[in-house]
Amino acid sequence: MKEVTRKWIINGKERQVTCPPLRRLLDVLREDLHLTGTKEGCGEGECGACTVLVNGDPVVSCLIPAGQVPDGAEILTVEGLEETDLGRLLQEAYLEKGAVQCGFCIPGMIMSSYALLQRNATPTELEIREAHAGNLCRCTGYVKIVEAVQYAASKLS
C-alpha cells in the first residue's frame, strides 16, 4: 500500500499528513493529529458526531478518505471553533439555552450550526431543523439545540 501526503489548512494552521490513501479523515484528525474533539459515533455516516467542515461544507469525517481531501483544503474542527467569533457565540448560546446534555453529539452538532449561520444568518426554524437533520442526539435535546441556534442568530442581527 502506497501512502499519500497532503497539505491542509486545519483550524487556520498549515498541517502536512502522510497516511494510507483511504484512511478515514476522522482517524487522521483524532489519532494522527490528536484533535480528539471530533467524535466517532456510528462510523457509518448516520449520526453526524464526526461532522467537520471541509472548505465550508459540513461533512461526516468517518466517510471521507484522507487522500480525497486535496492539498490546500481548509478543514475546521470543533477545536478551531473557539478561535472564531461565530464559534464563541454558538458556544455561549448552547450554554445559555442548556442545549448540552451528555455532550457526545455536540462537537458535530455545533459544526452544523456554524455552517448554517455562516451561510444564512437569519434561518427559519425549519431551516435550522433541516441543517441539523444529519446530527442525531440520543438524549433528544433537539428543542434546546434549535433554541440555541435561534438565540445565536438573534445575536448576529
Partner: protein, 294 residues
C-alpha cells in the same frame, strides 16, 4: 485502524488517465466517487475490500450541469447538494431536485454523487425514479470511446448495471420537463432525513382539460430495480383524470409492483403505499389543473 488503512488507491487527475487505469487488468480498480456507500461497506466488511481503488473525486470532466437544447447534461461527479441547489435542475427537472434533497442529510449530500448513486444500483436509490421519468440516457466511457444507454435499460437487475469492467459513468443526458408538464417526487422513509427509502416514486405528467395528455411514472424499492409503469402510462394517456380513472390506476399500480419483505418494510405495506403514491400524484396534478382552469 480499519481495513481501509490497508487498501491502495490511485488518484488520476484527468478522465483520460482514469480510463487508462481502468483499461488494464493490472491497474484497474473499483471506482470511488463520494464514498458515502462504499466507505461504509468496506470499513464494515459488508463486501470484500478490493485490492485497488480508483478515486474519481475532483475529475473536472465529471463536473457541471448545463442546459443544451431541451436536455440537461449532468456530470457524473455532480453532488446531491449541487443538484438540489442548481437553478437549472430546480426549474427543468424538479423531481430530480426534490429527490436529491431527500438523500441522507446535508453531510451526505455534500459528498454523494449522481454517478455514484446510479452505479451503486440499490433498488432504494432515491435518484433513480426521478431520472427514469425523463426518458433520458447515461453516457459511459472507456478508452475506445463513449456509449449511450437509455436509463431504463441501464438498470439491469438487483445491484446490476450495464457497465463493462473498463468503463466509467461520465454524464447523464436528461430531457427537460416540457412546458405545461409538471413533476413530483415523493419518498417514504422511517424519518424524513438519514433514512433509506421504504418506497419512493416520481411522476411527470401533462393534463389539459381534465385529460391526461402524457404521463411517466416510476416507483423505487418495490422491485429488484426502479420500474417505469409503462403499461399504466399507456392506459392513462388520453383518459379523463377523474375518480374512476384514479381508482383504476391505483389497482393497476398495485398489481404492477413486486415488492419484498426486508429490513426496512414489508411487501404488503409497499404494495399498498405504491398505489397511494400514484393516487397522490394524480390527485395533486388534477386539482392543480382544475384550479388553473377556474
Amino acid at each position: 485502524m480499519t481495513r481501509l488503512d490497508t487498501m491502495d488507491c490511485e488518484f488520476p487527475e484527468t478522465l483520460a488517465d482514469a480510463l487508462e487505469l481502468m483499461a488494464d487488468d493490472t491497474t484497474r480498480g473499483v471506482p470511488l466517487s463520494g464514498g458515502t456507500d462504499l466507505m461504509v461497506q468496506w470499513a464494515g466488511g459488508v463486501v470484500a475490500a478490493p485490492q485497488r481503488v480508483i478515486s474519481l473525486a475532483g475529475l473536472p470532466e465529471l463536473k457541471g450541469i448545463t442546459l443544451k437544447d431541451q436536455c440537461v447534461v449532468v456530470g457524473a461527479g455532480t453532488t446531491h447538494a449541487e443538484l438540489r441547489a442548481s437553478e437549472v435542475i430546480q426549474a427543468r427537472l424538479p423531481a430530480l431536485a426534490a429527490a436529491a434533497a431527500t438523500v441522507g442529510a446535508q453531510q451526505i449530500q455534500a459528498r454523494g454523487t449522481i454517478g455514484g448513486n446510479v452505479a451503486n444500483a440499490s433498488p432504494a436509490g432515491d435518484l433513480a425514479p426521478a431520472l427514469v421519468i425523463t426518458g433520458g440516457a447515461v453516457v459511459v466511457a472507456g478508452v475506445h470511446g463513449e456509449r449511450r444507454v437509455n436509463l431504463t435499460d441501464f438498470f439491469k437487475g438487483y445491484r446490476s448495471i450495464d457497465l463493462r469492467a473498463d468503463e466509467l459513468i461520465v454524464r447523464f443526458e436528461l430531457p427537460v420537463n416540457p412546458d405545461g408538464s409538471r413533476e413530483m417526487f415523493r419518498k417514504i422513509g422511517t424519518r424524513s432525513a438519514q433514512a433509506i427509502s421504504k418506497i419512493m416514486a416520481a411522476c411527470r405528467i401533462r393534463i389539459e382539460d381534465r385529460t391526461i395528455r402524457s404521463v411517466a411514472l416510476a416507483v423505487g424499492s418495490v422491485a429488484p430495480t426502479v420500474i417505469r409503469l409503462t403499461e399504466l402510462e399507456a392506459w392513462l394517456t388520453g383518459r379523463v383524470c377523474d375518480e374512476d380513472t384514479i381508482a383504476e390506476a391505483v389497482r393497476r399500480t398495485v398489481s404492477a409492483v413486486s415488492p419484498i419483505d426486508d429490513i426496512r418494510s414489508t411487501a404488503a405495506y409497499r404494495e399498498w403505499v405504491s398505489g397511494s403514491m400514484i393516487r397522490g400524484f394524480l390527485d395533486a396534478f388534477f386539482n392543480a389543473e382544475a384550479r388553473e382552469r377556474r
